[in-house]
């Protein structure tokens, strides 16, 4: 018998019995059904202590008593009051919603689950009802008639349940006529819960790890070296090339920062191997950092302060090593932090230079303040200038689609760079339906720290819209791989695809790039970076010639 944390436990037919019509009982009178598979376990006291967060204690979601600290109502209301005077967005988003419902069927959790409190508007109303009661004239006078309600322990439990059923993907914000950003509301909700010592461990343990050891996965520096060495071995087996691993190298030109998911999880590691090969072939002077060994930042899913505390290391390390600029790998929420927070929180990076490609000479003035560019911006520029020696046919057995990751899509707008790169390294590329890509892209169902098996039911439900779109291109175009430039995607979409569109594999873009690249001095390529045989490359003559020609052209 499979357990609630395994996909097999859930029958597709049952999950697909979705009723989007809400129940008769008013939502304020309805308590969440906290069944295993729909929530994540609480943050452990030891991890709160690492971060110095208040009210550390061990508790369980199904406990009746969550051991809220004394005076918890005042803590929450004071916390709300403080945030209402610090964030214009928070105050506006509390005031201006007209409950038009345009956002209702835009949330993947609502679409896949039908729980009305997963409609973004109602998720926000969970907070707004408290706001109305305690912070508005109408609410103070008319109470529940004005949509206010009292702050009770049940409200806190409801917040915990639903603010950790939001992946902060911001799809609803695209459709909102007032631009209300549910991610910011969820972030406030989580901060307020944090004031009471309430977190989920899947977020908090990575935060504690990242604070102490530089990355979410608690990889120590020697472990990181080992990991990269193993990858270098596999690279050598696939290509015959031995790559260097510059680590904490003072005076390098470029600091490379990527999410730590690329170091351990299949298929993220192949993308990481792609980075190493690419940099080796270009011969650029770059370095990894063991101290800044994660661009990912689960602080974003915890509190603004935690985000700042984890993000600080990137500029500190860039300064210590004396690099000129920073290059960022394929990560989703890392790029939200870099594009929207880093310079404000931990800048100015006036000790760095405007990023400039050492290969093409292209300057990147759009990053003249933050001094950090996205790998896809860097690679697109390389391809545009003909600096990569590519044999697309090596990816001919791949029929790829591209999943826009939420954060690079809606917090940045990097749409064309990855597509340009993919089109240049793959002959077979098919887009998913237009309402499911670019700014309307659907979340993998496991973002914002929800990518654990503990809430498998919600991940499968939340993954339905994406899975359904993948299945569509699988059936229509024979798509067998989905590229995504996000480490969380590369972990969670595997589950989503296996469940909703079995047969479609997940890949990073740089993996595709490296598999298509002809490297100087490479051996005859018969296997890709996954060490799988490349169809059509087993034959000697034709391929061998191609490689030689390509190599010669490159020299």
């Amino acid at each position: 018998m499979s357990k609630f944390d395994e996909p097999d436990h859930y029958k597709q037919d049952q999950l697909l019995q979705i009723d989007w019509r809400p129940p008769r009982a008013p939502w304020m009178d309805t308590k969440p059904d906290m069944r295993p598979g729909t929530f994540i376990y609480p943050g452990k006291a030891k991890n709160l202590n690492v971060m110095g967060f208040p009210h550390a204690r061990d508790w369980a979601v199904d406990d009746v008593d969550w051991k809220l600290p004394e005076g918890w109502q005042k803590i929450v209301l004071d916390g709300m009051a403080e945030r209402l005077t610090r964030y214009r967005s928070f105050k506006l988003f509390m005031d201006t919603c007209v409950r038009c419902g345009a956002c209702a069927d835009k949330c993947h959790f609502f679409l896949g689950g039908g729980d009305p409190k997963n409609m973004p508007v109602l998720r926000a109303e969970l907070l707004r009802s408290i706001y109305r009661k305690d912070f508005t004239a109408m609410g103070k006078i008319f109470g529940s008639l004005a949509g206010g309600r009292a702050l009770t322990e049940d409200v806190i439990k409801e917040w915990f349940y639903y603010f950790y059923q939001c992946t902060e993907c911001r799809r609803c914000s695209v459709f909102c006529p007032y631009g209300i950003d549910t991610a910011e509301i969820t972030m406030m909700g989580r901060e307020l819960l944090g004031l009471l010592g309430l977190y989920v461990n899947w977020v908090l343990e990575p935060v504690a790890n990242c604070f102490r050891l530089g990355n979410h996965l608690a990889i120590q520096p020697h472990g990181l070296m080992d990991t990269l060495e193993f990858m270098a071995d596999d690279i050598e087996e696939a290509t015959g090339i031995r790559v260097d691993i510059p680590m904490n190298k003072r005076g390098a030109e470029i600091l490379f920062v990527t999410p730590s998911g690329d170091f351990v999880a299949d298929p993220g590691i192949y993308t990481c191997m792609g980075y190493m090969l690419l940099f080796h072939e270009l011969g650029i002077d770059y370095t990894w950092s063991s101290y800044a060994s994660d661009g990912g930042n689960f602080g974003l899913f915890t509190s603004h302060e935690a985000m700042k505390r984890l993000n600080a290391k990137i500029y500190v390390e860039a300064k210590r090593l004396g690099v000129k600029w920073i290059l960022g790998g394929e990560c989703g929420h890392m790029w939200r932090v870099i594009n929207q927070y880093m310079d404000t929180m931990n800048g100015p990076a006036d000790f760095l230079e405007i990023p400039k490609s050492p290969i093409t000479g292209t300057e990147f003035p759009h990053a003249r303040s933050t001094k950090m560019i996205h790998l896809m911006e860097f690679v697109a520029d390389l391809i545009r200038h003909g600096k990569l020696n590519l044999d697309k046919s090596r990816n001919d057995h791949i029929n790829v689609t591209f999943h826009d990751s939420c954060n690079p899509a809606r917090a940045m707008g990097i749409f064309e760079e990855p597509r340009y790169v993919i089109r240049n390294v793959c002959n077979h590329f098919h887009e998913m339906p237009e309402n499911t890509i670019r700014e309307q892209t659907f979340c993998c169902g496991g973002g914002a720290g929800l990518g654990t098996d503990e809430n498998m039911e919600m991940r499968l439900r939340g993954g339905l819209p994406r899975g359904s779109a993948v299945r569509h291109v699988q059936e229509k175009h024979g798509v067998n791989q989905m590229a995504a430039m996000c480490a969380i995607d590369r972990a969670t979409l595997v589950t989503v695809c296996d469940y909703w569109a079995p047969g479609v594999k997940v890949t990073g873009i740089t993996e595709l790039v490296a598999n298509a690249m002809i490297f100087t001095g490479e051996k005859k390529r018969t296997h890709n970076l996954r060490l799988e045989p490349i169809p059509g490359m087993e034959l000697d003559e034709s391929v061998g010639e191609g490689v030689e020609e390509g190599a010669a052209a490159h020299v």
């Binding site: 005031d95 007032y178 631009g179 500190v316 560019i373 309402n435």
Partner: protein, 333 residues
């Protein structure tokens, strides 16, 4: 329940105005209450907007809905992902004038029990556009009652709005479109199960109020044909600080005016503040240029970080063992 409360409130308020007019309380319902309502509206909205404006915007968080500006050979979506304040203003104009975001609206459907599809659904956009634009034009038309001589643009709008020249007095197009828009929005709130589930009294009340104002307006113009000269005399007096209450003004006028007063007074304390709020929405009115132009958080404060020195002190031996350079050499035993 919420529907009935809101409907009862509006009917009750209308009757209050009507009765006030009948019982000779013209001064109260024609002068005092409208003045107070107008002051509450203006004062309340100014306070509201100033209240929002004085709260800092600590981070520049936009919702990007198009291609960013990065490489110069990839065209940027200037209005969907603005890089400059001017482009952001353009985006804002689209949002305010044409409800750009609602134009994206889709309706999800589960086909064959397993395939999710999304169809463009512009009904909400259309209803909202009808209601808001008609309302604006009707307000402009009403300026005729508040200024003498009537400004040229008011006459122009009036002529354009009544160009069908049906009936006497002519039926304005916006009378119909306004009532249609409000009715659709109400109908949608009643019948869309999700919207109905989330609707509060405060969502029905303004719609009933608008409907009440609109219907009483139609009644006055086309059915009862009230003494418009008297009304204008009263309104002119009100806006020129020389209040008069002419005889013979229909109680209907007071009912209409009272509902309008309630709307004005209610405005700043309700969701109707979205009218001003939309202009301040950070996800729409900011440029997505953080990497080029540093945004400063006025309340930024230092936080506890784990320094490199602390990191190396803990892990130096392992780093040296793995051949990773360190800042301080290992101490010799």
């Amino acid at each position: 329940m919420n529907i009935l409360v809101a409907l009862a409130a509006v009917v009750g308020l209308f009757l209050v105005g009507l009765l006030g007019g009948m019982s000779g309380l013209g001064w109260l319902f024609g002068i005092v209450i409208p003045s107070v309502a107008l002051l509450l509206f203006l004062g309340g909205m100014v306070m509201k907007v100033l209240g929002w404006a004085k709260i800092p915007v600590p981070f520049r968080i936009t919702t990007t809905c198009g291609q960013q500006k990065a490489l110069d050979w990839i065209p940027q979506a200037k209005l969907e992902n603005p890089h400059t304040p001017l482009q952001a203003a353009g985006r804002m104009a689209l949002e305010v004038l044409f409800f750009r975001s609602l134009l994206r609206n889709t309706k999800a459907e589960l086909v064959d029990g397993r395939r999710l599809v999304y169809r463009t659904d512009l009904a909400l956009w259309f209803g909202a556009i009808l209601m808001h634009w008609s309302f604006l034009i009707i307000l402009i038309r009403h300026l005729r009652l508040m200024a003498n001589p009537v400004p040229g643009f008011v006459t122009f709008v009036e002529a354009a709005d009544g160009f069908l020249e049906i009936g006497l007095p002519a039926v304005f197009i916006t009378t119909g479109t306004f009532l249609l828009g409000v009715s659709y929005l109400l109908y949608r709130r009643f019948t869309n199960p999700q919207v109905r589930y989330i609707s509060l009294v405060g969502d029905y009340f303004p719609l009933f109020l608008l409907l009440g104002i609109g219907l009483s307006g139609v009644w006055m113009r086309h059915l009862d044909k009230v003494d418009i000269a008297g009304v204008k005399e009263m309104m002119l007096g009100l806006f020129h600080f020389a209040p008069v209450v002419p005889e013979g003004i229909s109680p209907l006028v007071y009912g209409h005016l009272f509902l309008a007063s309630v709307l004005l007074a209610y405005f700043p304390f309700s969701k109707l503040t979205h009218m001003a709020g939309v202009f301040l929405s950070p996800t729409r009115n900011l440029a997505n240029n953080n990497r080029a132009v540093r945004h400063v958080n006025p309340w930024d404060y230092p936080v506890k970080v784990h320094t490199y020195d602390e990191y190396e002190d803990e892990l130096r031996e392992k780093m040296v063992g793995a051949g990773i350079p360190v800042d301080k050499p290992l101490e010799k035993e």
